[in-house]
C-alpha cells in the first residue's frame, strides 16, 4: 500500500531512497511519473521538439548520475525541474549565439502592464472548445510570450512551483519573479480574451 502523507499526497521518499541505492526499477518509476511534465516544460521554454527531447534525456541522465548528491531537502520533482530549466536555458542561449532567434528586448518598459482590452468572458470559456483546440490556443498563447516571461509563467502557473522555487531555478530575485509573473499573466489574459470573451459584447464597444 502506498505511503501517504498527512495531506493525502503520495509520499515518494521511499521510492527516491530505493532509486538512490541503485534500484533501476524505482528510478524508472520516477521517470514515468515525471517525464510528461518535464517534456512539456522543456517544450515551452525551448519551443522546439528536438531540443525538448534533448533536455528530457539530459535531465534524467543527470538526475540519475547525481542522485547520490540529492539531499531530499527539496522535493524530487523540484530538483529535476531545476535541472530541466538549466538545460532548457542552455539550449536557448546556444541558439541566441547562433542569432537564429531575436535577442530579448529590454524587460522593464512598463508597456507590458498596459491593459488594452477589457471584456467580460463567458462563465466557462474553455467549454466552447474541444480539448485539442483549447490545448492549441493555450500553448500558442504561452509560446508567444517573451522567454523571460514565459519561463516564469510556466514554472509558477503551469508547473506550480512557489515564487521562491521559481527564483532559485531561474537564478533571479523574488521581486523579479513577481513582476515578470504579473506581466505574463496580464498578457495572457489579453491574448485569451480574443477567444473567450462573451459573444455579443463587441456590439457595445461601438456605442
Amino acid at each position: 500500500m502506498p505511503v501517504t502523507s498527512e495531506a493525502g499526497v503520495f509520499d515518494e521518499s521511499p521510492l527516491v531512497a530505493r532509486a538512490r541505492q541503485g534500484d533501476a526499477s524505482a528510478f524508472n518509476e520516477l521517470v514515468t511519473r515525471y517525464e510528461r511534465k518535464i517534456f512539456r516544460l522543456a517544450k515551452h521554454i525551448t519551443q522546439s521538439d528536438e531540443d525538448a527531447e534533448d533536455v528530457l534525456q539530459e535531465t534524467f541522465l543527470k538526475a540519475f548520475e547525481h542522485l547520490p548528491d540529492f539531499q531530499g531537502q527539496s522535493k524530487f520533482y523540484t530538483w529535476i525541474v531545476r535541472i530541466a530549466v538549466n538545460e532548457s536555458l542552455m539550449k536557448l542561449r546556444k541558439r541566441k549565439s547562433d542569432r537564429t532567434v531575436p535577442l530579448d528586448e529590454p524587460l522593464d518598459t512598463g508597456e507590458d502592464t498596459v491593459v488594452r482590452e477589457i471584456a467580460v468572458w463567458d462563465e466557462n470559456p474553455e467549454q466552447q472548445y474541444s480539448r485539442e483546440e483549447l490545448g492549441k490556443i493555450l500553448n500558442e498563447s504561452v509560446d508567444s510570450l517573451r522567454p523571460a516571461f514565459r519561463t516564469v509563467f510556466v514554472l509558477r502557473d503551469i508547473e506550480e512551483l512557489s515564487t521562491e522555487e521559481t527564483a532559485e531555478a531561474l537564478g533571479i530575485s523574488v521581486p523579479a519573479v513577481k513582476s515578470r509573473l504579473l506581466r505574463a499573466r496580464l498578457q495572457l489574459r489579453e491574448k485569451l480574451t480574443r477567444f473567450f470573451k462573451r459573444k455579443g459584447d463587441d456590439v457595445f464597444a461601438y456605442l
Binding site: A24, F27, N28, V31, E35, R36, K37, F39, R40, E53, L56, Q57, F60, L61, F64, E65, T113, V115, I118, A119, V120, W121, P125, E126, L134, G135, L138, D157, I158, E160, K178, L181, L182, R185, L186, L188, R189, L192, T193, F196
Partner: protein, 89 residues
C-alpha cells in the same frame, strides 16, 4: 481608496491569496467599485484556472523509447564501473 494602478500592482497577491489582510480588504473594496478592474481580476483568475486544468500531453512513443534506451545505457555503464572498482571475490 486604491488607484487602478495600485490595484494592478497588488493583483498577483490578490489572485494567489498572499496579500496581507489590510491590503486584501482594500483590493476587495476596489473591485466592487471599479467595473474595469473587476473584469481584469475575473478574467485573469479564469486565465489561471484554464491553464491549471491543462494536463500534459502523452510523450510520443519514440521519444519515450529513446529516453529509456539512453537511461539503460547509462545504468549499465555505471554498474560496469562499480564492478571494476569493487571486483567480486
Amino acid at each position: 481608496m486604491l488607484t487602478c494602478k495600485e490595484f494592478l500592482d497588488g493583483l498577483n497577491d490578490f489572485l494567489d491569496d498572499t496579500a496581507d489582510r489590510e491590503i486584501r480588504t482594500n483590493l476587495e473594496k476596489h473591485v466592487t467599485e471599479c467595473p474595469n478592474c473587476w473584469v481584469i481580476f475575473d478574467t485573469t483568475k479564469k486565465t489561471l484556472q484554464v491553464f491549471k486544468g491543462m494536463e500534459p500531453q502523452v510523450i510520443p512513443n519514440d521519444v519515450h523509447a529513446r529516453l529509456l534506451r539512453a537511461l539503460d545505457k547509462k545504468m549499465a555503464a555505471k554498474k560496469a564501473q562499480q564492478e571494476k572498482v569493487q571486483p567480486q571475490t
